[in-house]
């Protein structure tokens, strides 16, 4: 699941076998992770999964119980925060209320004895589009503006790694979208490594070039957002990043490049390249938008996998219609049909055939006694692509 590549002499951030315990609670459990220099890296997970603790250990605000943290070749595990070339954009922004915006942004440079900082501060204000706001106090700024001051205050120090702790959490949806694009633009412009902690998978996918999904102090899966979405590694990821229909299946054999499985008495096949395993019990997964509906079995294109069912619910959400289709074994499949105006809407109670291309399915590990897919907390799983 995790990657470990030692021997780097550049400025990559290495987290090596880090564990953090608070009393008997293990917040981070033997975490090993490398964040390449200049990347936009997202640590994604539900609250309490250890992502913020990981970030705070990199910042030096918490000390690991075990393990090492390296910046390039420098071991910073026990280094005080004010000695680390790392800066943080805090969730609450933590702007100094008694200082002007200018003084807030200049804070880090002044503490390091850099006197000639006026021009740099002006440049930072320009970068975050707050020219002319230098003399104001934080309380006189809106949430979005404060967020940008917090970013400028950290960025001006040109840290080796910039840590962002749920930086957009306090903003409303529209502003959050705007700031996501803004952050991505700034990251590309300054080229500093960004490590971004978030519970919002959409935020992680929009901005980051690498996403690590964390669960219970460990990394569930790490990779490019598209790869992870298209071919999740675990059932947790399949349901945390967007939604998935997961069928409890058993592998029955391999035929050429295809893997054959059986689920609820029905037979399916999919390419071996889409399988994380080729024997034993498994989840057969398909994303709701990869499922199609046909009125009769004859209308299913050749080569597609198919399941009969009955529409039990339909909700119109603008860009698509979301159907629930009850399969013969009683479970409901979620199907997103784009409202492209081609197919007529289906009434509840209609008999349909759900079908998909075999290469759109994926096969992931399932414990033999597991019959219900693990679902992340509903508040944390925000639908993607709906």
């Amino acid at each position: 699941m995790t990657e470990q590549d030692h021997g780097n002499t550049d400025a990559d951030l290495h987290i090596v076998g880090v564990t953090k315990r608070f009393g008997t609670f293990t917040a981070v459990d033997d975490l090993t992770l490398t964040v390449p220099q200049g990347s936009f890296f997202a640590l994604l997970g539900a609250s309490g999964c250890g992502k913020t603790t990981t970030l705070r250990m990199v910042a030096g605000l918490e000390e690991p119980t075990a393990g090492r943290i390296l910046l390039g070749t420098q071991d910073v595990t026990r280094l005080r925060p004010y000695k680390r070339p790392v800066n943080t954009v805090f969730q609450s922004y933590a702007l100094f209320p008694h200082l002007s915006i200018f003084d807030n942004i200049a804070f880090g440079l002044r503490r390091r004895g850099i006197r000639d900082h006026a021009k740099q501060v002006e440049q930072m204000l320009h970068l975050v589009e707050l020219d002319g706001y230098g003399s104001r106090r934080p309380a006189q700024l809106s949430g979005g503006q404060q967020q940008r001051v917090a970013l400028a205050r950290a960025l001006i120090n040109q840290p080796q790694v910039l840590l962002l702790d749920e930086p957009l959490g306090a903003l409303d949806l529209k502003l959050r979208r705007q700031m996501q694009i803004e952050l991505k633009r700034i990251q590309t412009e300054v080229g500093i490594t960004f490590v971004h902690v978030t519970h919002d998978q959409e935020e992680a996918m929009t901005m980051a070039d690498t996403v690590a999904v964390m669960n219970a102090g460990r990394i569930e899966q790490l990779g490019a957002p598209t790869d992870m979405y298209e071919f999740p590694g675990t059932a947790f990821v399949a349901n945390f990043l967007g939604q998935s229909n997961l069928l409890a299946a058993t592998v029955t054999g391999v035929s050429g490049d295809d893997v054959l499985v059986q689920a609820y008495g029905e037979r399916f096949s999919l390419p071996a390249a889409r399988c994380r395993l080729t024997a034993g019990t498994a989840w057969l997964g398909v994303r709701p938008e990869k499922l199609h509906l046909a009125p009769t079995p004859d209308a299913v294109p050749t080569g597609h996998q198919a399941v009969r069912g009955e529409v039990t619910d339909s909700s119109y959400v603008g860009v698509s219609t979301q159907y629930l289709v009850r399969a013969p074994w009683g479970d409901e499949l979620t199907v997103f049909v784009p409202n492209s105006g081609i197919a007529a809407p289906l009434a509840v109670g209609s008999e349909v055939v759900v079908h998909w291309r075999p290469e759109h399915a994926f096969l992931i590990e399932r414990a033999p006694d597991e019959t219900v897919a693990p679902m992340p907390e509903p508040e944390d799983a925000v639908g993607v692509g709906t």
Partner: protein, 306 residues
């Protein structure tokens, strides 16, 4: 507004609800004054009137007495006489009070900081510890200090054993003893406002300062101290003002050579019976403190913080 409301709804029934808020608003405007009334009456009766009375007394002819009565002669010389004669006592009062304030601040700030930021679940217990001395009377506590600092008491014998030289070999009846008593008695007045403002200090701001290369010392002077200035100002005022007027500590722990202006006022009022002189001294002290406080608050630049 209400006329438009009538036009809009055009029903008789709407007249009653739309009139009610206006009547209620009129009534509500009186509420603050009614609530203030007892306090204002109290202040008038027991502060403003006695103050005027005292001001009048301070201008009476000093040759009168309680038996023969006083004549109002606008005798402003009472002030110049008082200040000239007791300049030393004034100076000692301000000096002792200033030193007391400084020492209580130096002791009280770390204490308040520790309780507010590191107290955890012991916070309330520690606060009770700060206030606990108040359960005993001011006089008793000061008398206890007399025993503690006495020539054969624990402090002097310890210092003697350590060969620390003491002026005249004693602590009691010296300036340091008076200041020690003042510090002890006024410490809670410093700690409580400091605690109140440090309690509001967001520890995440300290984390942010550390993250932005501030060492612990600069983190304190750049973030914690400026943000707790309201508490510092309130604490120093609550300590300095009563300490400057105190006479119990000087009387019990000092000698006539340590007497403060409060002792002079007390003796003039209660022993000598020089009412005009005592009143003039009281007013001069009030004026001096007022001027000092105004200058201080301006210099501290905390008008906007307060």
């Amino acid at each position: 507004m209400s006329a438009l409301g009538h036009l809009g709804t055009g029903s008789v029934a709407s007249a009653t609800p739309s009139d009610q808020p206006v009547a209620g608003g009129r009534r509500r405007r009186w509420v603050p004054y009614v609530l203030l009334l007892p306090g204002i009456l109290w202040l008038l009766l027991f502060f403003a009137i006695p103050c005027l009375e005292l001001l009048a007394t301070s201008l009476y002819d000093p040759s009168g007495s309680l038996e023969t009565g006083y004549a109002m002669t606008w005798h402003f010389a009472n002030y110049s006489d008082a200040v000239r004669e007791y300049a030393g006592h004034f100076g000692r009062s301000i000096g002792y009070a200033a030193l007391t304030t400084l020492i209580t601040l130096l002791i009280g700030y770390p204490l308040a900081y520790a309780i507010a930021l590191k107290g955890g679940r012991w916070k309330n217990l520690m606060l009770v510890g700060v206030i606990a001395p108040f359960f005993t009377s001011f006089l008793i506590r000061t008398l206890a200090w007399k025993v503690i600092l006495s020539d054969d008491g624990p402090v002097v014998s310890t210092l003697n054993a350590l060969h620390v030289p003491l002026p005249d070999g004693r602590l009691l009846a010296t300036g340091p003893a008076v200041i020690a008593g003042l510090v002890y008695n006024f410490l809670p007045f410093m700690v409580l406002p400091l605690y109140a403002s440090l309690e509001k200090l967001d520890p995440r701001l300290l984390e942010a300062a550390g993250d932005l290369y501030a060492r612990p010392v600069s983190r304190f002077f750049r973030v914690a101290l400026p943000l707790s200035m309201p508490g510092v100002v309130a604490g120093t005022l609550l300590t300095f003002i009563p300490a400057a007027g105190d006479y119990i500590n000087a009387q019990l722990l000092g000698t006539t050579r340590q007497y403060m202006i409060g002792n002079v006022i007390e003796s003039k009022f209660l022993k000598v019976g020089d009412y005009p002189g005592a009143a003039a001294l009281s007013f001069a002290l009030m004026a001096a403190i007022l001027v000092l406080v105004l200058v201080y608050v301006r210099r501290a630049g905390t008008e906007e913080v307060l």
